[in-house]
Amino acid sequence: MLEFGDTIPSGSTLHADIAVFGAGAAGIAFAREFLDSNQKLLLVESGDRVPDSTIQSLYDGKTIGSPYPLSGSRSRQFGGSTNCWAGLVARLDPIDFEKRNYIPHSGWPIHYDELVPFYERAESLLQANDGSLDAFSDAPFSPITFSEKLRTKIYQWRPKRFLDFLSDFERSRQIRLVLRSNVVALHLNGDKWSIDSVTVKTLDGNTFRAVANRYVLALGALENARLLLSSATEDWPGVGNEYDIVGRFFMEHPHLDNQLQLMSFDGRFQGYSGSSDFYPAIALSEETLRTERLCNSAFFLPVSGSAPSDPWAKRVQTIATSFGLSSGAECFPVGIPIEQIPNPESRVSLDSERDILGMPMVTLNWQLTPEDLTSLQRTVEILVQEFGAFHVGRFQNSLKQRSLKNPLGGNHHMGTTRMATRPQEGVVDRDCKVFGTDNLYVLGSSVFPTSGAANPTLTILALAMRLADHLRKNA
C-alpha cells in the first residue's frame, strides 16, 4: 500500500509490528522479506518516486577536515542512493571480518561464514553470482597465477535501481509505504530502554507518530548517526551513545586515481578493464595482508591498455625489450580504493544550525591517519616487487606524502554506528540491535566496524536480510 505523508492527518498515529525508516537499498531489501509475512510493516521514506530538490536539501550539512560532498554523495528519494549508484558489487573478504591486531578497532562480532547464506540471497536479488573465479572461468580475462602474494578479485556490475521495487509495495497489504515523510525524533520510555514512538514530519508541516513493537533505522550512515545523536539531552548522551561512539569512526573508501600506472610486459591484463558484467581487480592475497600487516585494497585497470606514449614510459619499455622481457608493452592507469583504518576522530557530529524540519544539520569531519598512507605505500611496493620479480611489468608510482591529503571518496559512508560485542566498543550488537535498547535496530553500512575494500551495498543487503530473518524468528 502506497501513501504520502501529506495526506496523513496531522496528530494521527500509525501502528505496525515493525516500523522501518528509510527506503534505500537496506530498507527496501529488509521490507521485501516481509512481503509474504503476516507481520505488519510500516516503511517511512523521506523522498518521493522522483528527485525533489527541496527534499534533497535535507541532506545538506557542513564539513571540516577533508572536503566531502554531503548531498552529492547520496540521493534522498525512494530507492535511496541506488538511484545514482554505479552498481559495482562484491563480497567483503573473510579477512575483513577478522580482528587484526595491527588494525586498531578491527574485528566484526560476526564471522564471514555467518553472512554467506545472506550474501547468496543478496546476490540472487541482484542477479549476481558469488564472484568466485570459477563463476567466471569462461570470462575473457586471466586470473593472476604468477605470484602467491597476489590474487584477482572479481567485482560485478549490477546497477539495479531499487525504485523498481516500488510496485511490490504498492501491491502489498502487509506493508504500508509512506513517502514524503521524515523521521525527526525517537521517543523513549521512562527508563530509556525502549522506543515508544517516533515522530514523523512532512515538508508541508504535517506531523504524525509511528508506534511499533520494533523499529529499524535504515537512513544511511550519516543520517542514522544524526538521528541517534539528536535524541541526546543535556544530561543524557542519546540513544546507543552511552560511550560517545555514535557518529565516530566514519569511514570511506579513499580512492586514488592517476597515482599509479602499470606497464604490463605482455597481454595478460587484457580484459581487466572488464565488461558490462564484471570487473576484475588486482589485490593482495589474504595471507599477504596478514603477514605484511596491511589494510585491504583493490587495484582496478579502468581502461584498456595502450602502447607507452610518454617519453619515460617509452624508455622503460626500451629497457624491458633490451632485457628480453617484453615485446609488446601496454600501459594502464590504475584506480585504487583502499580500506580506511577505523579512526574515532573521523566523525559525524551535530551542527548548531537546523534544517527546515528543525533537525540539527550534520557536520562531517572525515579524517585519515598517516598509517592509511603507510599501508597503501607498502601495498604498492609489494605490487612493484611481485610484478618486477616475475618479469610481468613495471609501475610508475606517483604516491606522495600528500596523496591522501584531500582524498576522494567512493560515496561509501560507513562506521558511524559500528557493530561490536560490547557497548564500550560500538553502537549495535551482532544482531544490529542498538546497545541499551530492546527494540531499536540499525541497518546499512553505518554498522560496519571495518570497511574492507569492496563496495558496501552487497554487504548492506546481506545484513538487511539477516536482520529480517532474525526478527521473523523472534516475532
Binding site: F323, F390, S398
Partner: protein, 121 residues
C-alpha cells in the same frame, strides 16, 4: 645496431675466439657484460634514463658499476641476458629498487642504463 657498435662487438668476439683460455673468469664475465652493453639497441633512450638515474643517485658515479653488476656472478656466466634477468628479479625481491621519473626500476636495469650513458659521455 650502429656500425661502430657492430664493429666493436665483432672485434671483441674475435678476440674471444682467438685467445681462448687466456682471460680469467672475471675478465670473461666483464667481456660478456661489455658485449651485452654494446649490443643494446635504442641507446639514446637508455642513456637518457641512465643520465637521470645518475643525477638522482649521484653516489653511483663513484662506484665501479660493472664490478657491482658482476658481483656474486658465477665464474663463467653462460648467458649474460638471463644472468641479468635473474639479477633484476632478485633486485625486486630484495627491494633494490630505484625510482626514476617515478618509474620503479630494479637497480640492475638502472645501472645498465647508467653504463650506457657513461660510455657515451
Amino acid at each position: 645496431m650502429k656500425r661502430r657498435n657492430f664493429l666493436s662487438v665483432l672485434f671483441l668476439s674475435l678476440l674471444h675466439i682467438l685467445l681462448p683460455g687466456c682471460a680469467s673468469p672475471r675478465a670473461r664475465n666483464l667481456d660478456a657484460l661489455n658485449r651485452f652493453l654494446l649490443s643494446l639497441d635504442k641507446r639514446k633512450q637508455l642513456s637518457l634514463l641512465g643520465e637521470k638515474y645518475l643525477s638522482l643517485y649521484p653516489e653511483e658515479r663513484e662506484r665501479n658499476l660493472k664490478a657491482v653488476l658482476l658481483s656474486e656472478a658465477p665464474t663463467n656466466i653462460p648467458n649474460m641476458t638471463s644472468y641479468l634477468q635473474d639479477r633484476l628479479a632478485q633486485d625486486f625481491r630484495t627491494r633494490e629498487i630505484a625510482q626514476v621519473s617515478r618509474w620503479e626500476l630494479s637497480r640492475t636495469e638502472a645501472r645498465i642504463c647508467a653504463l650506457v650513458h657513461l660510455s657515451e659521455a
